[in-house]
């Protein structure tokens, strides 16, 4: 059974049709590359899944149950996590503090509950180890490489039992070696049975890590096929419109 099913989702802002009648499903442990030119509707689509926007039409189903999201916190509660393009990290805080930002662990009773530094360091350390990242929980994010910063942002999605992780351009602004590191992080998420949606402009990354590619153009889904049966040339044609649509 699919983890997430979108059926005939549309979104318009006034007269502008940002997303037009898009349907697709996500399986557990699957990486789906979501591609398309700027303004194709990728971000709008993802923001609907993340609870930032409300669809104008259509329905979403999570584990077979109807899914209605009013705010990003709702999505998080349902196990839908997002890694923002700018990673949303605070440079002045430690890696562990960033992982737990907004969901800090505390100990004690009643009004006198204090931050549980020990537990947060420990769990963050375990998450980094799971991700095979060399990030250390007590290090300040300020001094980290792009790959380590990605690891911190991704570890955040693993705090609760995430079912779906949406990643917005995770490889856009980092070095080649760090890209490999991030793609490995994505594989680790997949191996744990998490469905990953990878929004990217970078063809090699999508063909390297994704199982399936969905291409959007002008708000419509124009392709949804296995990576194995597609090619970068075909996807480029679909993105630009040189190829109209494939089954």
């Amino acid at each position: 059974m699919s983890v997430l099913e979108l059926a005939n989702i549309s979104k318009h802002f006034g007269a502008i049709q940002a997303v037009n009648d898009v349907s697709f499903s996500l399986e557990a442990g699957e990486v789906v590359g979501l591609m398309g030119d700027n303004g194709a509707g990728k971000s709008t689509l993802v923001k609907m899944i993340a609870g930032n926007f409300h669809p104008s039409h259509g329905t979403m189903r999570l584990d077979g149950k109807d899914l209605v999201l009013h705010k990003p916190a709702d999505a998080r509660q349902h196990g839908i996590e997002i890694v923002h393009q700018d990673l949303a990290l605070c440079n002045n805080l430690t890696a562990a503090a960033n992982v737990y930002l907004g969901r800090e662990l505390r100990r004690g009773f009643g009004p006198l509950r204090i931050l549980d530094y020990g537990a947060m360091y420990k769990r963050a350390g375990q998450l980094f180890a799971e991700l095979k990242s060399e990030t250390r929980p007590r290090d300040l994010v300020k001094q980290m490489s792009g790959g380590q910063r990605q690891a911190v942002a991704i570890a955040r999605t693993m705090l609760s039992q995430a079912k779906i992780v949406l990643m917005d351009e995770p490889t856009a602004a980092i070095s080649v070696r760090q890209v490999a590191e991030v793609l490995n992080l994505i594989r680790h998420l997949r191996d744990q049975g998490i469905a990953v949606v990878l929004i990217s402009h970078r063809m090699p990354d999508v063909f390297d890590v994704a199982d399936r590619v969905i291409v959007m153009r002008r708000g419509r889904k124009v392709a949804d096929k296995k990576i194995a049966s597609s090619s970068p040339e075909e996807v480029t044609g679909l993105i630009t419109g040189a190829i109209e649509q494939v089954a």
Binding site: P72, A73, R76, H84, D86, L87, A88, L89, C90, N91, N92, L93, A97, L101, G102, R103, E104, R106, R113, I114, L115, Y121, K122, A124, G125, Q126, F128, A129, R136, P137, R138, D139, L140, Q143, R156
Partner: protein
């Protein structure tokens, strides 16, 4: 050799000493100690118990307000209205007590006034997106003017039936001969330090100063916290005002005039960063101490008082210079 997970988790970036040496507050403490040692040798009048009593007490008013300011500065904001809020709170206390009400009523009215002003500042900044500089600059003018209205611009020095209680509150020395204001300062510094280090609220304040957008995206209630932060700043000014009223035994409408600069200076000298994300309770106290020692020493060394501003301004610029040098080295 294989590194275990526990070792990785325990791994700190710096040793205790390297962290200490990289800490601006530490160097300011050294500066204060050196200055004190020098003055003890160079003058007869510095190391007298009377002078030490004076210095420690003078530090407190700036330090208490600087503690509140630290919260605001960590979020990346600024509160220019503290000097005027201090004056207005003092005046509300004085006028209420002068009218025959008890000290409890006076203090309640005074604190309520401060909190209301802080809430007003905070709401405009957090929910309407006003720049903190503009809102609090406006409030600097408004609060002082309200103090003049409340007192008809007169000096209030009679505080009704609880007159003596108020003077004891601010001017006494209830524990080991330490001036009461110093006791309040230590207590408030402890509370501030605890909040910043051990509470979720404190953690969120640092997050807002580090990256406000990230804090919002991760579900930190940024707007509410900003309002509270300005209320804390105003509250600290109000408390300092109450204590100072008890110590001085009189309130004039120029109380706390220009104090915002000393308070901001103390915070910055103590290591807080005006860009947000950095600041400590100890830093605020130590910064206030350095300013007061400089002021005091100029007097004792017989240097013309007109030079005070130059030395304090120089200390501010020097403190920020050290911060810049550290950042240059890091970016190399």
């Amino acid at each position: 050799m294989a590194v275990t997970l526990d070792q990785t988790i325990a791994q700190k970036q710096h040793t205790f000493l390297s962290r200490l040496f990289a800490n601006q507050t530490f160097w300011v403490v050294i500066a204060v100690i050196l200055a004190c040692l020098f003055l003890s040798v160079a003058t007869d009048s510095f190391a007298t118990s009377k002078n030490i009593f004076n210095i420690t007490r003078n530090i407190t008013f700036v330090a208490i307000v600087a503690l509140g300011m630290t919260f605001v500065i960590i979020t990346g904001g600024i509160d220019l209205s503290v000097g005027s809020v201090l004056c207005l709170s003092s005046m509300v206390l004085a006028v209420t007590m002068h009218a025959g009400y008890s000290i409890e009523v006076g203090i309640l009215a005074s604190i309520a006034t401060a909190l209301a002003i802080g809430a007003f500042n905070g709401l405009l900044i957090a929910y309407l997106g006003f720049p903190p500089f503009v809102v609090t600059l406006g409030m600097l003018s408004v609060a002082r003017s309200l103090a003049m209205v409340a007192s008809n611009n007169t000096v209030v020095f009679q505080f009704g039936p609880d007159h003596q209680k108020l003077l004891a509150l601010g001017g006494g020395a209830w524990l080991f001969g330490i001036a009461n204001p110093v006791l309040y300062m230590i207590l408030l510094a402890g509370i501030t330090g605890f909040i910043l280090r051990w509470t979720k609220f404190g953690r969120h304040i640092f997050a807002i100063g580090g990256n406000e957008h990230a804090a919002t995206l991760t579900g930190v209630p940024v707007k509410q916290i900003k309002v509270v932060v300005y209320m804390i700043s105003a509250l600290s000014a109000g408390l300092a005002g109450i204590i100072q009223t008890g110590w001085l035994g009189a309130v004039t409408t120029n109380l706390g005039n220009g104090m915002e600069l000393q308070v901001i200076a103390a915070t910055v000298i103590g290591g807080a960063n005006l860009a947000g994300g950095v600041g400590t309770a100890l830093g605020a106290i130590v910064g206030a101490a350095l300013i007061e020692v400089i002021r005091n020493s100029l007097g004792l060394l017989g240097i013309n008082a007109f030079w005070q501003g130059t030395f304090i301004g120089g200390a501010i610029i020097l403190a920020v210079l050290f911060d810049r040098i550290r950042n240059f080295r890091r970016s190399d």
